[in-house]
C-alpha cells in the first residue's frame, strides 16, 4: 500500500506527478491511499510520500488531462482515487473518454461540472472592497469569499487577466490568493478579515433595487442561479427580502393608478415634433391639382396613387401612360391590367395595396394622333421624388414593391443591375423594397415563349412579395 500526500496549494501538479510515477510502476488503484492537505499524517501503513516530479514518459489522451485538471479541485475526498482508477481504465481503452454513458466517467464529468460551476460562481460573486493604495501607486482591493470547492487556485488567473492594473487579495477559508505588482501568489486560508466599509456598495445597492421590476417576481429563477449560500457575502443580497415583500403591493399600485395628465411641457415638445410632419392627404391633392394647371406641351397632369391610406403594401411603377393621364388614375392602361391579372394569380390583393408611380406625369411625344410614351430622365425622377416620398410618409407601407428601373432608381438611388437585383429585398430609409421588373417589359417581349417564361417569373416575384407581408 502506498500513501500519497497531496498539498493544498499546487494540488494538480502534485497529483499529476504522483499519477505518472504510479503508472510507471504499474501500481493498481486499490494499492494507493491518497491524502490531502492537513489530513492526519500517521496511519497504519507507515509514512506518506509527497510526490516528486517524475521523469516517467506517460501518454494519456488529452481529454483526460483536461478532465483531471478540473476534477482535482473538487471537495470530494475520493476524487484522487477515482481519477487514478479511471486513468488505468483509459490507458487500456482510450475510446472510453467518448463514452458518455459510462458510469465512472459520468461521475467524474459530474464532478468536473461542479468545479466549473463553482469557479464560474466565484468569478461572478467575488465582491471587492477598496482598501486604499497598493504597490507602486496601484489601487488595492480585497474580498472575502467562501467557495464550495477548492477553486481559488484554478480561478486566480482569471482575476489576474481581468484586474491587471490593480492589486487584489481574495481571502477564503481554503486558500488565499494575492495579486501584487502583476504577480499571483497563494497562501494558506485564513479566517474572515475585517475589510473597511466601501461607499460604492451603497450605489450598487441602489442600482440593484432599481433595476428590479416588481411586476415580474420570479424568486425561483433567482435562487437557482444565485443560491442562498452566497448571499451572506454579497452586499446587494441584503435588499432581496424587502424587494420581494414589497413587490406585490408596488405592482398592484401601478395597475390601480389612473393614467395621469401629461405634464405641460409634453404638449409643447410634441407640437414641435409634429411641426416637422409631412403634408396631409388634402394638402397633397390640392398641390397636385395646382401643379396640373397650365401644363406645357408633352407633359400630362399629376396622377397621384390610389388605394387604402393604411395599405401594408405599396406598389411603385414607372410613370402614368396615355390611359392613366386621361382618367387621372394610376395603373389603368395595358401594363396596369397585366399587373392586375398576374397579381390576382399570385394571390396579391390589388385593392388592399396602394399603387402609384415613381414619376407622376405622363411624358410624351406626338406622332400624328397618338401620344407616344417617353421615358423620364434622371432630373425628372429626382424631381418627382418629393411626391413619392410624401405618399410613402403618409401610407407608411410595410413593404414597397418596386417595378422597373425608374422606380428602383427613385427608391434606392441606383438603377443598374435590375435583373440581378430582382426577387430580393433591399433596405432603404423608406422601408424594405422588393425589386422586380415592370409589367410593360413583359408586354414588349416579342417572343411569346420568353414572354410566358418572364410572366411566370414575375408571378413568382409577386408571390414572394406577398409572403413578406404575411
Amino acid at each position: 500500500m502506498r500513501t500519497i500526500q497531496l498539498p493544498r496549494i499546487g494540488t494538480w501538479t502534485a497529483w499529476r506527478d504522483a499519477a505518472r510515477g504510479l503508472l510507471a510502476d504499474g501500481v493498481p488503484a486499490e494499492a494507493v491511499l491518497w491524502r490531502f492537505g492537513e489530513d492526519a499524517p500517521d496511519d497504519l501503513f507507515g509514512g506518506a510520500v509527497t510526490p516528486a516530479p517524475s521523469s516517467a514518459d506517460v501518454t494519456v489522451p488529452k481529454g483526460f488531462v483536461d478532465l483531471a485538471s478540473r476534477v482535482v479541485w473538487h471537495s470530494d475526498p475520493e476524487r484522487f482515487a477515482r481519477l487514478y482508477a479511471f486513468l488505468l481504465r483509459v490507458k487500456r481503452h482510450p475510446r472510453l473518454l467518448s463514452d458518455r454513458g459510462d458510469a465512472d466517467l459520468a461521475r467524474l464529468r459530474a464532478m468536473e461540472k461542479n468545479v466549473n460551476r463553482c469557479a464560474h460562481k466565484m468569478k461572478a460573486f467575488v465582491r471587492f472592497r477598496d482598501i486604499g493604495a497598493g504597490s507602486g501607486g496601484r489601487r488595492a482591493f480585497a474580498a472575502w469569499f467562501e467557495p464550495s470547492h477548492h477553486t481559488v487556485e484554478p480561478t486566480a488567473p482569471f482575476f489576474a487577466r481581468r484586474f491587471g492594473d490593480m492589486d487584489w487579495i481574495i481571502a477564503t477559508p481554503d486558500v488565499t490568493a494575492r495579486f501584487e505588482a502583476g504577480k499571483v501568489s497563494f497562501a494558506e486560508g485564513q479566517p474572515r478579515p475585517d475589510l473597511p466599509e466601501d461607499g460604492a456598495e451603497a450605489l450598487w445597492g441602489t442600482y440593484f433595487r432599481n433595476i428590479f421590476n416588481p411586476a415580474r417576481v420570479k424568486v425561483q429563477a433567482m435562487t437557482s442561479e444565485m443560491p442562498r449560500k452566497y448571499w451572506k457575502n454579497l452586499p446587494e443580497a441584503r435588499h432581496i427580502p424587502e424587494l420581494i415583500a414589497g413587490a406585490e403591493a408596488r405592482a398592484a399600485e401601478m395597475r390601480a393608478a389612473m393614467p395621469a395628465l401629461p405634464p405641460v411641457r409634453a404638449e409643447r415638445i410634441l407640437g414641435r415634433a409634429r411641426a416637422a410632419r409631412p403634408v396631409t392627404w388634402d394638402e397633397l391633392r390640392t398641390r397636385a391639382a395646382e401643379a396640373s394647371r397650365d401644363l406645357p406641351e408633352g407633359l400630362g397632369r399629376i396622377v397621384l396613387g390610389e388605394g387604402p391610406a393604411d395599405a401594408r403594401l405599396m406598389v411603385v411603377g414607372e410613370q402614368p401612360g396615355d390611359h392613366e393621364d386621361q382618367q387621372g388614375r394610376p395603373f389603368v392602361g395595358p401594363a396596369g391590367q397585366l399587373f392586375d391579372k398576374v397579381a390576382g394569380q399570385a394571390g396579391l390583393d390589388r385593392q388592399a395595396a396602394y399603387v402609384t408611380n415613381a414619376v407622376k406625369q405622363f411624358k410624351f411625344r406626338r406622332s400624328g394622333k397618338r401620344r407616344l410614351h417617353e421615358p423620364p430622365n434622371r432630373t425628372e425622377i429626382e424631381h418627382a421624388k418629393w411626391w413619392l416620398e410624401a405618399e410613402l410618409k403618409l401610407v407608411r407601407p410595410e413593404l414597397i414593391l418596386s417595378m422597373g428601373a425608374t422606380a428602383l432608381q427613385s427608391l434606392t438611388g441606383r438603377r443598374d443591375g435590375l435583373l440581378k437585383r430582382r426577387g430580393a429585398v433591399e433596405e432603404t430609409p423608406h422601408g424594405p423594397v422588393f425589386v422586380t421588373v415592370h409589367p410593360s417589359y413583359l408586354l414588349r417581349l416579342p417572343d411569346p415563349v420568353r414572354r410566358t417564361e418572364e410572366t411566370e417569373r414575375f408571378r413568382e416575384d409577386l408571390v414572394a412579395a406577398r409572403g413578406r407581408i404575411v
Binding site: S98, D99, R100, G101, A124, F125, R127, F128, R129, D130, R139, F141, A160, R161, R162, F163, G164, D165, M166, A200, E201, A202, L203, W204, T206, Y207, F208, R209, N210, I211, F212, N213, P214, A215, R216, V217, K218, V219, Q220, A221, M222, E225, A247, A251, R255, A257, P259, A260, P262, P263, R265, I269, L270, A273, D310, E398, E427, G431, P432, V470
Partner: protein, 409 residues
C-alpha cells in the same frame, strides 16, 4: 436642488429596467495583462440576479430619461410624469469603472431617451464609450443602444468602441408601432439594422494590403420586441424574428413581456405581464435557431397561431406529430433526434458520439442529460419500448398541468 449621484442612479436605472438584454458574451477575447482594466473571454458572467429572475451582468442605465417621443408602452415618454434626470458622461464613466473594479459587472449597457435631436443623443453616447476605451483603457464589454435616426458617422464610431449595438424593433408589426410609438418609424429602424450589418460585413474583409480593418461591433447586434401590448399572435412575432435573423444577421431577438409601468398611458391599459408566453417564445426562438424547426411547424399546432402555454413548443409539436415517433435512438439521424422532446443539442451530440462504439441503453441516456420524463414516450432503445404510450390518448394530460377547479364563490 441638483440631484445626487445616488438619486440619478436610482432614476436612470429604474428607467432602464424594461430592456431585457443583458448578454455580455460572444465578443473578441481581450484582457488587461498588458495594461488597462478588464477582460472579455467568450462567455459572459451574470454577476447578480434580481428577484425578477433576470440576471445583472451589465450596468444597464439610461444616459438620460428625458425624451421627446411619446411611445405609449414606455415609462419615459414625454407625456409621463416620471421624475427626470441626466448623467454627465463623467458620471457614467465613474460608475462603470468603480463598479467594474469591485467585480459587480461585466461592463456597460448604455441607452438613452431622445433629447433635442437623435444626433446629439448619439454623440454623447459615443463620447462615453470613447472615454471608457481611450482614457480609462477599459477592456470590458460595452453595449450601446443606437438611435435609429442618428448620422451614419456616429453609428460607425459607436461600432468601433462598442462590442454590441442594438436598436429595438419595439413592436411586432408596423401597424402597432404606428399606433403606440407614433414618432418611431419601422423603416428607419430596419435601415439602421441594415447599416450595422453592412459595416460588420465590411469590417471582416481585409484591405488590399492584407490588413484587417478595426473590428466593428464584434458581438453583433440584437433587438427587442414587446410581447402582449398589441394583438399580434405568436406566429406574427416569430415570423418577424425569423426575418430579422435572416435579413439583418441579428445575434438575438429578445422578447419582453409587456409589464405594468408607473405612470401608465390611457392608450395602453395595464395587464399582468404574460411571463409564460414570453418563456414559450424564447423556447420557440431556440427551436428556430438550433433545432431546425420552421415557424409554421412551431405555431401550427393551434389554429389561432399562438403557442401552447401549457406544454413547451417542442413537446406540443411532438404530440401533434405522433406518426413520426417513436424514434430509434440508436439509428435515427441527427435532425430527427433533435426533435425528440427532452433531448437538447448536447444530449444529441453525446448520443451521436457514444452510439458509434456501442448500443445505448435507457440508463445511458439518463447520464447524458436527457429529460427522460419527456423523452420516454417518443423513443425506442434496446431495453426500452414505449408500447402504446406513444399513441395513448391521455399523453398530453401527463405533461400539462392539472386542470384547476375554478372558485365556486
Amino acid at each position: 436642488m441638483p440631484l445626487t449621484l445616488q438619486q440619478k442612479l436610482a432614476i436612470l436605472s429604474d428607467a432602464a429596467r424594461y430592456d431585457a438584454s443583458c448578454a455580455s458574451s460572444g465578443t473578441t477575447r481581450r484582457d488587461s495583462r498588458k495594461g488597462g482594466l478588464g477582460s472579455t473571454e467568450g462567455s459572459g458572467i451574470c454577476h447578480a440576479y434580481a428577484p425578477d429572475g433576470r440576471c445583472i451582468s451589465l450596468l444597464k442605465i439610461l444616459m438620460t430619461n428625458f425624451c421627446i417621443y411619446d411611445c405609449a408602452y414606455c415609462v419615459n415618454r414625454v407625456s409621463s410624469n416620471t421624475p427626470r434626470a441626466r448623467f454627465t458622461p463623467e458620471e457614467v464613466v465613474h460608475l462603470t469603472i468603480e463598479f467594474y473594479r469591485r467585480n459587480y459587472i461585466e461592463g456597460l449597457f448604455l441607452s438613452s431617451g431622445i433629447i433635442r435631436s437623435p444626433d446629439k443623443t448619439m454623440e454623447d453616447m459615443v463620447r462615453i464609450a470613447r472615454l471608457l476605451r481611450e482614457r480609462e483603457g477599459f477592456r470590458g464589454y460595452i453595449h450601446l443602444k443606437t438611435i435609429p435616426d442618428a448620422a451614419p458617422e456616429l453609428i460607425e464610431q459607436a461600432g468601433l468602441f462598442a462590442d454590441r449595438l442594438s436598436v429595438n424593433i419595439e413592436l411586432p408589426t408596423v401597424r402597432s408601432l404606428e399606433a403606440y410609438a407614433p414618432e418611431k418609424d419601422a423603416g428607419t429602424i430596419r435601415a439602421a439594422m441594415a447599416e450595422v450589418k453592412a459595416k460588420r460585413t465590411a469590417s471582416k474583409d481585409r484591405t488590399h494590403t492584407g490588413k484587417r480593418p478595426p473590428r466593428f461591433a464584434p458581438a453583433g447586434q440584437s433587438t427587442q420586441m414587446i410581447v402582449g401590448a398589441d394583438e399580434s399572435t405568436d406566429r406574427t412575432i416569430l415570423g418577424q424574428s425569423t426575418q430579422l435573423y435572416g435579413d439583418h444577421g441579428l445575434k438575438r431577438v429578445y422578447y419582453s413581456a409587456f409589464s405594468p409601468i408607473p405612470e401608465s398611458s390611457a392608450k395602453l391599459p395595464l395587464i399582468k405581464p404574460p411571463l409564460v408566453r414570453e418563456h414559450r417564445l424564447y423556447q420557440a426562438d431556440w427551436l428556430l435557431r438550433f433545432y431546425g424547426f420552421g415557424v409554421d411547424e412551431i405555431t401550427g399546432s393551434r389554429p389561432d397561431g399562438n403557442l401552447d402555454l401549457e406544454v413547451d413548443p417542442k413537446l406540443a409539436w411532438a404530440l401533434a406529430h405522433r406518426d413520426r415517433f417513436p424514434v430509434d435512438v440508436q439509428r435515427a439521424e441527427r435532425e430527427l433526434l433533435l426533435r425528440v422532446p427532452g433531448f437538447g443539442t448536447k444530449t444529441v451530440k453525446r448520443v451521436l458520439a457514444t452510439r458509434r462504439h456501442r448500443t445505448l441503453r435507457y440508463e445511458d441516456l439518463q447520464r447524458m442529460g436527457a429529460n427522460l420524463k419527456h423523452a420516454r414516450p417518443f423513443i425506442v432503445l434496446r431495453d426500452w419500448r414505449p408500447g402504446a404510450l406513444t399513441d395513448s390518448a391521455d399523453l398530453r394530460a401527463r405533461f400539462a398541468p392539472p386542470p384547476e377547479q375554478l372558485s365556486l364563490f
